[in-house]
């Protein structure tokens, strides 16, 4: 039977490969495992092996062809066998090479080839469920269980090893692009219209790659698939300031840290959010998953990038514990010592730009979350208070939510609750 030779997907984000050369000629006899062809990815040139014994035929790929992954580029035929009229789907060979970045051009990457028929992946129930939730294609995994059975640990390891997986199920380090008025159009968005670049001298060309590319892809995805509702209100922070002053010293003795308004906000959000489940939710596979836990992402600025360390189960932490968790996470974020696991899996994000003097802004939802809270600077503002015009420290909160998951009134109720809580912070006890 004819075996297809395809453009392999050698890393998770690869969509096309550039063909470099055939190492065998059409009509040559090849053995399974013989070096067969070379491709160029954006990371390295990779030599690939023949998936079967037989005769190389039906060669389609030529030098510098940019070929989508899994497209057939040739066949390996048995002696005397004719080329298939159409593609023969029975013998699809999936090539999964370990996603080695920065391999030298000469390095040969071993090809693990296996014939996978639909539904024959050996996988434990929880691993199957997890893969579905994370939108991970199980056929790309090799299980460490008996006879290749895929276990939960395999799925989690795969997820961890693929921070750039385009599946949006993993909120990674990725960075809620906060100043969002001009969305980055990454190379991945192929629909971008061709617009002539300005005729100006170039200072530097920075490739959209790595974390920047992840941010770009996610934000484009979020901005163009999740219809955002943005609602704002102002909160009188007088009592919250008083609360902070009251607990500053005791909590400093207890935790060694100064209580930040971010910590107070985190505590307020974690207290209020359980009453607004549709804002602590994810849209996945036709379902809205309402999360029991609040894994609170805290957008943090690190040099040119923003990262979002996650406080897990924030609903179970008191103010002192949140202060400690925040101090630890932000400190390690700035020293780039966070593990990927600590930067993924958030269910709701808080982004505070008050320290930069920003009074109000709207954020883009950090997928797969369904809402985000943008926090502005506290500004002494003349307001009517008990029949007088007085200066009060007002802070603007803007919640952005995915309109597919929740409606304006839901977001409004959340903001109103949050306002009441922050204005009467003793409710946090």
């Amino acid at each position: 039977m004819a075996t297809e030779v395809i453009m392999p997907k050698v890393d998770m984000v690869m969509e096309t490969g550039t063909f470099v050369e055939w190492l065998k000629k059409e009509g040559d006899h090849v053995n399974k495992g013989d070096p067969l062809f070379v491709i160029d990815t954006d990371k390295a040139a990779i030599e690939l092996e023949s998936p079967a014994d037989g005769i190389l035929a039906g060669v389609k790929a030529r030098i510098n062809d940019v070929i989508p992954v899994t497209e057939i580029i040739a066949y390996i035929l048995a002696p005397g066998e004719a080329l298939p009229v159409k593609s023969a789907p029975q013998q699809v060979v999936t090539i999964s090479a370990p996603a080695r970045s920065r391999v030298s051009a000469a390095e040969t990457v071993a090809i693990v080839s296996k014939t996978i028929e639909p539904g024959t992946v050996r996988v434990t129930p929880i691993a199957r469920r997890l893969a579905k939730e994370l939108q991970i294609d199980l056929t790309q995994l090799t299980g460490r269980g008996p006879r290749g059975r895929i276990h939960k640990a395999d799925v989690l390891a795969f997820q961890k090893s693929q921070p750039s997986v385009e599946s949006l199920s993993v909120p990674t380090a990725a960075v809620t692009a906060i100043e969002s008025t001009t969305p980055v159009i990454p190379s991945a968005t192929r629909a971008a219209p061709q617009i002539a670049l300005p005729d100006a001298r170039r200072k530097q060309v920075v490739p959209v790659a790595g974390a920047r590319k992840i941010i770009a892809d996610r934000m484009v995805h979020s901005a163009f698939t999740a219809p955002h509702i943005n609602l704002s209100l102002k909160v009188d922070m007088t009592e919250a300031i008083r609360l902070r002053e009251r607990v500053l010293e005791p909590l400093k003795i207890q935790t060694g840290q100064r209580v930040s308004f971010t910590a107070i906000l985190a505590r307020a959000v974690a207290t209020v959010l359980p009453h607004h489940p549709y804002l602590n939710a994810s849209l996945s596979d036709g379902n809205i998953i309402l999360w029991e836990d609040i894994h609170l992402g805290i957008a943090t600025s690190v040099e040119e990038n923003l990262i979002v360390p996650v406080i897990r189960e924030a609903q179970n932490r008191n103010l002192g514990q949140l202060v400690m968790a925040l101090a630890d996470l932000t400190d390690r974020a700035r020293n780039r010592r966070l593990t990927p696991a600590e930067m993924m899996g958030s269910t709701f994000t808080i982004s505070n730009l008050g320290m930069f003097g920003i009074e109000s802004f709207t954020a883009i939802i950090n997928p797969p979350e369904s809402a985000i809270l943008a926090v502005g600077k506290m500004v002494d503002t003349p307001v009517a208070h008990e029949g007088q015009i007085v200066l009060r420290p007002m802070m603007e909160l803007t919640a952005s939510a995915d309109h597919r998951v929740s409606d304006g009134a839901t977001v409004a109720r959340f903001l109103a609750d949050l306002k009441v809580t922050l204005e009467n912070p003793y409710l946090l006890i």
Binding site: T124, P125, A127, P146, R149, H151, K152
Partner: protein
């Protein structure tokens, strides 16, 4: 129940204490069996009880388990609360017609007009060198008979509380006392107390794997868990305590938590109660949490040998549980 009155006694003494306290509290309760009176029971459980309660209430019988079960069933029908003892669980084969066809059926067949509040105490299990006819664990047979409850305590505390609950239950309850557990010591309150029949207990908490075990396999599983803890494998041990009615919820909750389950019993694997447990787990919400196949460890499909080495090899020992649990915990890791 207060802790001040709790002291260490053996499983055997806990069974006796439950009997004595129930007989003092309710004069309808009586003990019937071979050598339960003058001799004090085959294993000494009823030692001293004849002196306190007299021949009427601690009744020695001829060597006929059919007669013991029939007499107990009749007494229960007439409103008494008999506790019958067979010397070895194996001899229940002779009582089976009375128990399965009569005691288990009457309440149903007479439309609830009568009840059969009786307890069948049955020393079970191997490990005493008593060979194939005195070493069996026949719980699976009786679990499969509607109308009979089956209880298999693993500690002195459970033995007392469950026996009192069994005596107060209005249905036939088969109460399995493992012979090797009789000498096991543990804290038991002096006062009378009940453990509801449908209440499993988590005997040890752990994250990596659940062992469901009952009777003698509970202390063995706990010992295995301690050994594996040294290797960094954190095992949860769940004891159903009562096989029927079964507290499915506690077991399922544990498996949801750990994602892996090893079921251990002494009775032969084939047709054993472990199959029932496995099916209950597989059909429950725990299915979606399983990260490895449900595994069972049970006795070999052989009559228990007389030879001590072979006898030991025929049923799961601590090292067998260690090996099976370790392999399961590491599967896919």
């Amino acid at each position: 129940m207060t802790t001040q009155t709790t002291r260490e006694i053996t499983y055997l003494e806990a069974v006796r204490e439950a009997l004595v306290q129930e007989m003092r509290a309710d004069k309808e309760v009586f003990l019937i069996g071979e050598d339960v009176g003058t001799y004090g029971g085959a294993f000494g459980v009823s030692k001293g009880m004849l002196e306190e309660f007299g021949y009427e209430r601690v009744r020695d019988t001829p060597i006929s388990e059919a007669a013991i079960a029939g007499a107990a069933t009749g007494a229960a029908l007439m409103g008494m609360r008999p506790v019958m003892e067979v010397m070895f669980m194996d001899f229940l084969t002779i009582s089976t017609n009375q128990l399965v066809n009569q005691a288990a059926k009457m309440r149903f067949m007479f439309g609830g007009k009568c009840s059969i509040p009786m307890v069948i105490r049955a020393p079970s299990g191997s490990g005493t060198g008593a060979a194939a006819q005195h070493s069996q664990s026949l719980e699976a047979w009786f679990v499969n008979v509607p109308g009979i409850k089956v209880v298999a305590p693993s500690s002195p505390y459970d033995a007392k509380g469950l026996l009192i609950a069994a005596i107060r239950d209005n249905n036939p309850v088969l109460f399995m006392e493992h012979k090797l557990l009789y000498r096991l010591k543990g804290p038991v309150p002096e006062e009378s107390y009940c453990i509801p029949l449908q209440s499993a207990e988590v005997k040890r908490e752990g994250r990596d794997l659940t062992i469901v075990a009952y009777s003698i396999m509970v202390p063995r599983a706990l010992e295995a868990a301690e050994k594996l803890a040294a290797e960094g494998i954190d095992i949860e041990v769940v004891d159903p305590r009562s096989l029927k009615p079964l507290d499915e919820e506690t077991i399922i909750r544990s498996v949801c938590k750990t994602g892996r389950v090893l079921i251990v019993h002494e009775a032969p694997l084939t047709g054993g109660f472990g199959g029932e447990l496995a099916a209950v787990i597989a059909a429950s919400e725990a299915f979606d949490y399983l990260d490895a196949p449900i595994r069972r460890l049970g006795g070999l499909n052989v009559p228990i040998p007389y030879n001590r080495t072979l006898e030991r090899a025929a049923v799961p020992q601590v090292e067998d549980i260690v090996t099976a649990a370790r392999a399961l915990a590491q599967e896919g890791k």
